[in-house]
Symmetry: D2
Subunit: 173 residues, 4 copies
């Protein structure tokens, strides 16, 4: 499987420097694409992302927001987004999906998002393993994240993977 | 780690024959101990158990209810439980924790339940791995169940465990 | 309009003596008919009745529960109901609708309840003004109760009703 | 009691022409002051206002939104508000509280709002009868609105008020 395309962003919040998929290699990545004026994102998608960030260890799962604005562009610029993140107490890193004029932003188009919210799960290798438009239940999402956490990292030559094998939400050994 | 004690029951619903922990060896077991007149069980614990039964494959996770009556014994006998299970559309197997007169029923006492609802998670070997009194969030529970699913079964001698390693909610390979 | 038929009961809880519609004349009466093993009653109807009891003054609105058992009779006898009321912290008076063998209890049949929960609203004169099977939204119910509170009591001869006219949730003057 | 001060607005949505309190005389007015980036307004205050608009007859109760921006002014301008109202399907008239530079907008200051959401209830005469900051339960709000609906309008000289007296949610007669 080929690695997933890099996301394309113009600005970041809640992180000292921009984040790329490559930077996060070694961790599971959950990316929540949203729009600040999308009711389903505000009521469901973003609170779920906050719960994931609060439940999993940041060394296992990186939660990333992506502001993929495809409508009402003038209402959802960076200043508005900054205020929104503050008011909704969203603390995980959020990137702004690179606009392409009045059309779909670049990452949205590259990945073929059907709308917002969209949830992407990437494995430790940076491969896209799950793409969900709309709602995914917490129970299912928790299970899918742990399934990715449990996967054996590719062992460097000469190191046996056999010592791995027992994973809990507190880590694998 | 020693295997967990067998539960002690006097009657079963939603199953053609009684179930023991030993019978379920090889599967993850989630046991939800409840009382039919316990508001937290009715509002939270039992609906969560129904969601687990609907989300995970029955070949991976066995969901078991245990009716551990420690108060209002005359109101929660088997006939009442049967009506309750029918009205609340509970379809997974439910055992009646063996009463010990007016006191705590046997399994409740053996395991030291603090009350109801109580959730127990057993691994494929029948070892108790988690004991929760009260609420556990769906996201956490989904992750914990998958962590147990992902654990390597004990490999028979001569068979390498290396072919395992990739698990999803649809199974491990 | 004729006065509504008296309800027929065999036992009462949460009241020192049985209550009749006639006893409550002068107050608005909200009667919630339920079964203790009816999921919609437990999740919606009874909590709403508790909110009404907590919101309106008891001198304006009398909240009455009626246990109208029409199925699973052996699971919902008086001892079971007593335990249920205790566990669910239901403090308003609850009468047991008089059984008629294995069929519909008397009040249920007299009033033509379609099932449970059923909500009846009676005015100060004891006339039935509203009969709802299933759910009624809090906003609507609050308005309907206040509409009944606001109605002018029948003024005794020689007393002008003109002094009435301003009602709030704290009373009318 | 003096009539309440007129609200001061600079722009309106969902109405062909600006609305004043004076225009609405004869109706009960429920004004919900909000900010589009206020989580409590989005989750509670505005949905409640939508329920009121759907439950009461528009000839009895006029539901009005007031966008009282006191923070993040650059994120909540009229273009952003227009997009917000569209996405959240808010159909009742919404006025923009007249800004006063970076400070509190005029109506907010005139009425002494403590924050958003704030709910004001005005009677048919345009007098302010209720001022709530934060949450008010639907049951209570429904009752308070009906109490105001039930109040006798001031009868013109020579017309008896005695024909009034029976109100329901479908009107008074």
């Amino acid at each position: 499987m080929d690695r997933a395309p890099e996301w394309r962003t113009t600005e970041w919040f809640n992180t000292p420097s921009p984040l790329s998929l490559a930077d996060l290699r070694g961790k599971i990545v959950m990316l929540t694409a949203f729009q600040m004026l999308c009711p389903g994102c505000v009521a469901e998608g973003l609170p779920q992302a906050q719960r994931v960030a609060a439940t999993f260890k940041s060394s296992d799962v990186a939660v990333i927001g992506l502001h993929s604005v495809f409508e009402h562009h003038d209402a959802m610029g960076p200043a508005a987004l900054r205020a929104f993140l503050h008011e909704y107490k969203i603390r995980f890193p959020v990137g702004v999906d690179a606009p392409d004029g009045p059309g779909l932003p670049h990452t949205m188009r590259d990945y073929g998002f059907q709308g917002t919210p969209t949830t992407l799960l990437f494995d430790r290798e940076g491969q896209l393993r799950r793409h969900v438009f709309g709602h995914i239940a917490d129970l299912q999402l928790g299970a899918e994240l742990m399934a990715l956490i449990c996967e054996q990292p590719v062992a460097p030559a000469g190191i046996s993977a056999e010592t791995s094998g027992v994973c809990t939400i507190d880590g694998c050994r």
